[in-house]
């Protein structure tokens, strides 16, 4: 250990750290029992990008080892909390005992902006059937039916969705049948999700189940075609800290019409109408790519990967959109917006960069943010020395090119793959095939994502589903200037004397997306990594023992 650390306390100087990633990896796994170590070795990878952009294989989306404290949540959390939660006008009813619902009660800080006082907003509510002994023994369908009726009587929502927690699957409640009955009875949309927590290895399974449900029960219900020349959907943007608001602002200035967002600041009507858009943008590839794929097959909407985290990335994404539409007016507008926004960004960036240059960051979070936020750090000269996702799959690390090679294990087979066909009347190619081919020839990439690793340098440690133990080790070895993860990791990291930024809830800060968001983030990181507070940890008499001795002597 000591040898490993040598030469690394000098991070203040420009000297590159002498730590060898191979040694670090060894250090991380050597305390594990043999079997565990073998498994973890496949999930801890030293990055190397070859000349064709190929990266090493990393094992991911596999079960967490029991007793190892993980960042991951459950399928229910991914389905209810992540994907459906940010929609304001659906009554989200948790079918199960009270805890699961309580803990997913507006904890993600997804913001929403109702269109007036009469607009429904249930996001501050938490609905649950609060199962008791009787239901566990005799079944909970009756109570579920009554709860739906009650929610309808009191709130008159447009839609009610039902989320199953662990016990529901075991006692055999047929939530889908109840949903069908109540839909018939009440005349509103009622749909259910079999998203029992144990189903998948992480939240990720819940995302997939949510995608399937929303696609089956909502997308395509409303064929009204909205005004607008450049119509698109923004998928996988959940409006944490108001990110979606900032992106909406930019779109508006560019003359882009946002038909729907999945699912930040969203409504059920937007989902119902989303198939009328002409392009799908994907922010978080992990949580939502299924909807994009299904919409393409059924309705003919192409999708592209974008990233609005980072000022440069935002500019790049806007240009990509303009290029897709091949419209000079839009291209000009986009350029004008970028030119207008950038000076303010640059000014802060330069100022902050001077203080942050060369410092190390680590990011272990989610299924896309650990990648996206590397852009922001790079913009202020900080290096991401190690990163990994909490619930991503291989394609989010290695790029979609590995999709055909991903082994389907029992856990993935659990989650239904919907069979989708082109809609006989509503499938409409958004561009003539020739145009698409030409764009592609010119290097425009549809339905593609390179993943995190291709953009990280060689020798960086990529770690999937990092454990509490590995986190501590990593911090001990590298002493990074900042560590990014979620609230569960926050205080443990800070107890090691390292500032910790939450990238799930943003520590109640934000927005961090697009141009103004970038400025907010630069300032926030500057504040954190240049804070003096850590220097007060040792009292003066411990820092200068001779002083204490002197007092004693006097």
């Amino acid at each position: 250990m000591a040898a490993l650390l040598e030469g690394c306390f000098n991070l203040d100087t420009d000297e590159v750290c002498e730590i060898k990633p191979e040694d670090v990896k060894q250090e991380l796994i050597q305390k594990y029992p043999v079997k565990v170590a073998r498994k973890r070795a496949k999930q801890i990878v030293i990055n190397k990008v070859d000349e064709c952009g190929q990266v090493p294989e990393i094992q991911s989306n596999v079960r967490t080892i029991p007793g190892i404290i993980t960042q991951r949540g459950c399928t229910y959390a991914g389905c209810k909390g992540v994907v459906l939660g940010p929609t304001r006008d659906i009554v989200n009813l948790t079918h199960g005992p009270i805890g699961c619902g309580f803990y997913s009660w507006l904890t993600r800080r997804n913001q929403t902006r109702p269109n007036g006082p009469d607009d429904h907003n249930f996001m501050t509510y938490c609905f649950s059937t609060d199962m008791q002994d009787e239901e566990i023994i005799f079944g909970g369908e009756k109570k579920l039916r009554q709860a739906i009726q009650e929610a309808y009587d009191i709130f008159k929502p447009k839609a009610i969705s039902i989320f199953s927690t662990c016990p529901v699957g075991l006692i055999g409640d047929d939530v889908h049948q109840v949903a069908r009955e109540m839909k018939e009875k009440l005349g509103i949309n009622v749909f259910a999700f079999s998203c029992e927590g144990y189903k998948g290895v992480s939240q990720s399974a819940g995302h997939h189940i949510a995608n399937n449900g929303i696609f089956t029960h909502v997308v395509g219900l409303d064929d009204t075609v909205r005004e607008g020349k450049f119509k698109l959907n923004l998928l996988g943007e959940y409006n944490i800290g108001g990110d979606a608001f900032e992106i909406e602002r930019i779109f508006e200035e560019c003359g882009i019409t946002l038909v729907s967002t999945f699912s930040g600041n969203s409504t059920i009507d937007q989902f119902a109408n989303s198939h009328t858009a002409d392009l799908n943008l994907i922010m978080c590839h992990r949580s939502i790519n299924y909807v994009a794929e299904m919409m393409e097959t059924k309705f003919g909407i192409p999708w592209i990967k974008v990233n609005f985290i980072g000022a440069e990335a935002t500019a790049k994404s806007l240009r990509k959109i303009a290029r897709y539409f091949e419209d000079q007016e839009l291209m000009d507008k986009v350029e004008a917006v970028i030119a207008r926004e950038m000076p303010a960004v640059e000014k802060v960036r330069e100022e902050v960069k001077a203080r942050c240059q060369g410092k190390l960051a680590m990011l272990f979070v989610g299924g896309s943010r650990a990648h996206h936020y590397q852009e922001l750090f790079a913009e202020i000269g900080m290096e991401t020395i190690s990163a990994g996702y909490e619930f991503a799959h291989r394609d989010d690390y290695e790029g979609r090119r590995v999709l055909p090679n991903i082994k389907v294990d029992a856990d993935s087979r659990n989650i239904e793959e919907l069979e989708v066909h082109p809609d006989p009347t509503r499938f409409r190619p958004r561009k003539p095939a020739g145009d698409l081919a030409r764009l592609q020839e010119q290097g425009f990439r549809f339905k593609d994502y390179d993943g995190m690793m291709a953009e990280m340098g060689d020798g960086k440690l990529v770690i999937d589903d990092i454990s509490q133990y590995e986190t501590e080790k990593l911090i001990e070895i590298y002493k990074p200037a900042i560590f990014c993860a979620g609230i569960k990791e926050k205080y443990a990291v800070q107890k090691s004397g390292i500032p910790m930024k939450q990238l799930h809830s943003y520590d109640s800060g934000g927005p961090y997306a697009a141009f103004r968001g970038a400025v907010n983030f630069y300032r926030e990181i500057d504040r954190m990594v240049n804070s003096k507070v850590w220097s007060y940890l040792k009292p003066p008499w411990e820092k200068n023992p001779e002083l204490a001795a002197k007092y004693a002597w006097d």
Binding site: I65, P66, I68, T70, G101, C126, T165, P167
Partner: protein
């Protein structure tokens, strides 16, 4: 309407948390302990997040991470593997295993699995001192709230670990079972006991484990907590003080110590406000055999002085109190002393004891009891409160929407507090806690008055 009949089937905005969360909190107050949830990992992750957002401290909860296969065939293998990993990497001295709704529904026989596990570990030559103590508690959330989980875990710890060898005499120590209070409260109780010269074993002791100092080297398990040696000696203590009126008549940890080891039990309400604190000091005098130390007598005197000075601000105001039952009881008792009229006392818990306890603490101060509702959610609390026009709310952060709706101040107490800073340091208990609560209440009322004043007076 009876206290617990609800016209509603569903629960909208619950005023309770789930059972294993309480158990994890209790285990966290034991030295070297790692709480462990037997179930799928989501529950552990959710609870960690919730506890952390209140205390702003690390909180590890291990999980057996069950999947679909285990939901069908049982979770034994995962539980065993999980325990081994926790032992290896955390060096835990105690693993507190609580079940979840999933494993309770499957019907895993956890005590049996643990017995086999311990036996096998011993057979494999794991030395006794390397094997952590393993305590288990059944915590299905479909019956009971986080408070039942908390008390069940404390009881399980005592039941499975407390001893008193035949030949051992009574020790000078007194067991103190404070229930779920804040770290600041526990620290203060310890100070009181020390001042009275009574050696004390507080179980659980979250004073440091959930409110620790900044460090530059992280410890996997925080310092502090009740030590296993102390717990083992609890059977020999000369008395137990157990706080919480809902526990009266229950098979609680205190009762167990009394029946199994003949440790005399003093049951008291949670000492909030003057009268309930007086009751605690009375017992302490008895146990210490000396008068209450001057320092605390002075604090008591200052509190009464404040009651007198502030009475004109508090008198005649009406309050809605919600949260854990024992907290509600204590706060109600306190409000009665300061002239604030409790209008509604509500809880998501339903021990069946709330009315009786409030009757007791009212002690004929009010001719008519406030409205008392057990097993309610915030939807019902709001409905009830609507016609009561309260001036003030007392409870945790989840009542914020009520405060916003009625445009009245919310005095944040208890758990969870995630929209204010310092929830772990809120002092509720004793004369000192009453003083702090009183100051906060008076100032909140003054603030509201000043805000509403068209002139903007500077003297209030």
């Amino acid at each position: 309407m009876s206290d617990y009949s609800s016209p509603y089937i569903s629960t909208t905005n619950a005023c309770k948390l789930c059972k294993p969360l309480g158990a994890c909190l209790a285990f966290r107050g034991i030295e070297g302990a790692v709480p462990f949830l037997h179930g799928s990992q989501g529950c552990a992750t959710y609870m960690r997040r919730y506890i952390i957002s209140h205390f702003r401290e690390p909180m590890d909860i291990a999980s057996s991470s069950l999947g679909e296969k285990h939901a069908v065939y049982g979770g034994e293998a995962n539980l065993r593997q999980g325990l081994q990993n926790v032992m290896k990497k955390f060096g835990a001295r105690l693993v507190g295993v609580a079940t979840t709704c999933l494993t309770e529904t499957i019907g895993d026989d956890v005590p049996m699995i643990l017995r086999t596990f311990k036996r096998e570990m011993a057979e494999q030559g794991t030395a006794h001192q390397d094997l952590p103590a393993i305590v288990n508690v059944a915590t299905p959330s479909y019956s009971g709230t986080h408070m039942e989980g908390f008390h069940a875990a404390v009881r399980a710890v005592v039941e499975q670990l407390a001893e008193c060898p035949e030949d051992a005499g009574r020790s000078a120590a007194v067991n103190l079972l404070p229930g779920f209070t804040s770290p600041a409260d526990v620290r203060y109780l310890q100070e009181i006991m020390a001042d009275c010269g009574i050696p004390v074993i507080v179980l659980p002791d979250i004073s440091e484990t959930l409110d620790g100092p900044a460090l530059d080297d992280y410890r996997k398990i925080p310092d502090g907590g009740t030590s296993l040696a102390e717990i083992a000696r609890m059977g020999c203590s000369r008395a137990t003080i157990e706080l919480g009126r809902t526990l009266f008549g229950h098979e609680s940890a205190g009762r167990l110590l009394e029946t199994r080891f003949q440790v005399p039990l003093h049951r008291l309400g949670v000492p909030i406000g003057l009268r309930e604190s007086d009751r605690l000091f009375e017992v302490l005098q008895l146990l210490a055999g000396v008068e209450t130390p001057e320092k605390h007598v002075l604090e008591r005197g200052r509190l009464i002085d404040a009651y007198v000075d502030g009475h004109k601000y508090t008198f005649g105001k009406g309050a809605v109190i919600y949260g854990e039952e024992d907290l509600v009881i204590g706060l109600t008792s306190f409000l009665l002393e300061i002239g604030v009229k409790p209008l509604l006392c509500a809880s998501g818990g339903k021990s069946g004891r709330l009315r009786e306890a409030i009757e007791d603490v009212n002690d004929s101060i009010l001719p008519e009891l406030p409205i008392i509702r057990e097993g309610v959610d915030f939807y019902e609390i709001a409905e009830e409160a609507e016609s009561l026009s309260p001036d003030l709310l007392l409870g945790h952060s989840k009542g914020y929407h009520l405060a916003r709706r009625f445009r009245i101040p919310l005095i944040r107490v208890g758990f969870p507090i995630h929209d204010r800073f310092g929830g772990q340091r809120v002092l509720h208990l004793g004369y000192r806690g009453a003083q702090e609560l009183f100051d906060r209440i008076v100032n909140a009322l003054l603030d509201a008055k000043q805000e509403a004043s068209p002139v903007g007076y500077g003297y209030m």
